[in-house]
Symmetry: C2
Subunit: 437 residues, 2 copies
Amino acid sequence: MLEITRLSTTQPDFPEALRRLVDWEAADAHRVQEVAAGILADVRKRGDAAVLEYGARFDRLHVDSVRELEIDHAALKSAFDSLPADQREALQVAADRVRAYAERQKVESFSFEEADGTRLGQKVEPLDRVGIYVPGGKAAYPSSVLMNAVPAAVAGVSEIIMMVPAPDGQLAPMVLAAAYLGGVTRAFRIGGAQAVAALAYGTETVPAVDKIVGPGNAYVAEAKRQVFGVVGIDMIAGPSEILVVCDGHTDPEWIAMDLFSQAEHDEDAQAILVCPDPMYLDQVQQAMERLLPGMERSDIIRTSLARRGALICTRDLTEAVDVVNTVAPEHLELSVAEPEKMADSVRHAGAIFLGRHTAEVLGDYVAGPDHVLPTSRTARFASPLGVYDFQKRTSLIQCSPAGAAALGRHASVLARTEGLTAHARSAEYRVEASGRG
Amino acid sequence: MLEITRLSTTQPDFPEALRRLVDWEAADAHRVQEVAAGILADVRKRGDAAVLEYGARFDRLHVDSVRELEIDHAALKSAFDSLPADQREALQVAADRVRAYAERQKVESFSFEEADGTRLGQKVEPLDRVGIYVPGGKAAYPSSVLMNAVPAAVAGVSEIIMMVPAPDGQLAPMVLAAAYLGGVTRAFRIGGAQAVAALAYGTETVPAVDKIVGPGNAYVAEAKRQVFGVVGIDMIAGPSEILVVCDGHTDPEWIAMDLFSQAEHDEDAQAILVCPDPMYLDQVQQAMERLLPGMERSDIIRTSLARRGALICTRDLTEAVDVVNTVAPEHLELSVAEPEKMADSVRHAGAIFLGRHTAEVLGDYVAGPDHVLPTSRTARFASPLGVYDFQKRTSLIQCSPAGAAALGRHASVLARTEGLTAHARSAEYRVEASGRG
């Protein structure tokens, strides 16, 4: 038997039940905070020596210097060259498509001139140096390398430093190959909060970066939160989620497998199906029971479905969209007859997969849009990782003498209402200059 | 005598001296962390009751309900209508110019179709509800209301909730007038970490928002850091800074006053002048000594110049730009003959003010670009507050059956290298469907 929560929008406590379902707070948040803070302070103080100790402790990596943890750039290329043809091709297609999509996200500088000759503008530039964190551990994810590195490369970042945990020193050749294709300039076998610390503060060997992106475990996420301000960060990632809305006319095995593909990530991953047809929910549940024994990661799938999965019955598809907007899912699959119309009424989601053929997994690897997406309801305010995360803006203001005089009059009035006399005087000098001119 | 640090790039320890000058870390960071965490937890648990208690304790505001802390929307309009004509005009000009500039920053949705009918896109939408924090306390800043609210309104945010501390219940009419002009939909006389908590978690009276923006004191900044993830935040603001590069040919009094205008903000504000001419640095210092006694906020100016101000002599203007790129200043004034050329080589700054007539103060109030800018070297990775801070993106992926089959083949290969069989099977269903079709 497969255990999974069943909810219905007709039950009186549905809003609370839904909120409980999607609420996610790490069980031992306080401990994670303290551990992360300790590692950060230690690496900040002792640099390489601390990084080495944590690598030995957490990844059983015993080396004499952080330099030995750096992966030679030539090794990246040779890893790519040694891949079987189908893997090389798949990786290349993925990189090309991610790059092509990212190119469309580039933010451009602008400037314009006003009648009195005053010019205003905004200069957009790439960051100098960024760190990308790539999860390793239970599974190495070459796709994550591409999804983090490519938008940085497209933005024009000149130094892209990859940190990837290598338990017992092991790293999948695909991860190195992806780093080569993605434009990574330096790579280290360093993971956990110590990787975030090294990137944020710099060590004797690891250069300090300007921004750290990429998802990691709870310690990595907490470390990123704590260094925010010293460096930029992209977001604080929680467990991965999918919400599938189905009208009841997709092959139930497809939907069952789509839910599995999320649930197999880890025990905290969340897979939710929303459908107005209770019979169809039964069919999908039966398909899951039938298919589960054949899955390699059936234990993880079973646990995550039992813990956080749900089959939700709504009165109609309109109500299904209400559920979507409350959940603000990371991944949203619209397995319905008219997905475009439904997508228009979706207010909050990281990525929307439209139509029965658009399995979420296509977006994980090759569709093009980034797979680093806002989790845990943060799609209410956050966006997919993109080129814009690796660009920054500077405002440009160039007043003509006439413009400075005209603006200076108003600035002086406002400054004086705020009690800031030096502000007012600074503006008035330019007003007086114009009177003399 | 006016006390201010003098540095020269020719001194052997210049890099370390410069780093010490610009490094800023709150003296009692740990205490601030604990106090903020306590207030957040309390407001989260007890809602309105906690907000009322902190208001009584910190702002001496004794009322019976949070509803009494809400400012009636009609009061905003009547505050605007009651302003003297010059203030009303100045505020209107500022609002209009900030709005016109913000309009140019809007990010637009895009989508495109590939040869096999697959469509990709990115949908850009405004956030639903945002909170803006407006500093009050020592001085009420109507300009900050505009600079926070207007970009949100331009983005299309439908609910803009303003929090402003009102010590002893006092609020400047200009602040209310600016809220009216800026498009604030609700306003509360609540400040400090409790304002951030109320916005992040919601209370019986204050609705929870999706993002909190705007600078505040150290407690507000720390509270924002701690709620990041529950809601979005813009940045963590440190003290305000200006760096002026001058070629030695601007009236020394103008530059002295421009430095004062930064220093008068508060005792931690930073004002730095960089110039290749040591005689000119002397002239500016003499001008400062002459002008200081006439300033209303001379004590604050004197303290902040002594603590954090500096006059830096460089070998030439090229070296001055190197100093700029190390400091990554919030405000950068280029008081030189060819400011455009110099601006091109500036890599990091929040806003650049080009030319002798473009006093930084013009940007504080009326030029148009936002005055909420990245401080404390964060211009290396962060941008001015803008419309883009109130918009979010959702990726759109709609595969045609042929596209799903083609992409599915590669996705399956990559999924299997990552050991994710359910991912692979989910893709393969769509490949098989195409084979059958």
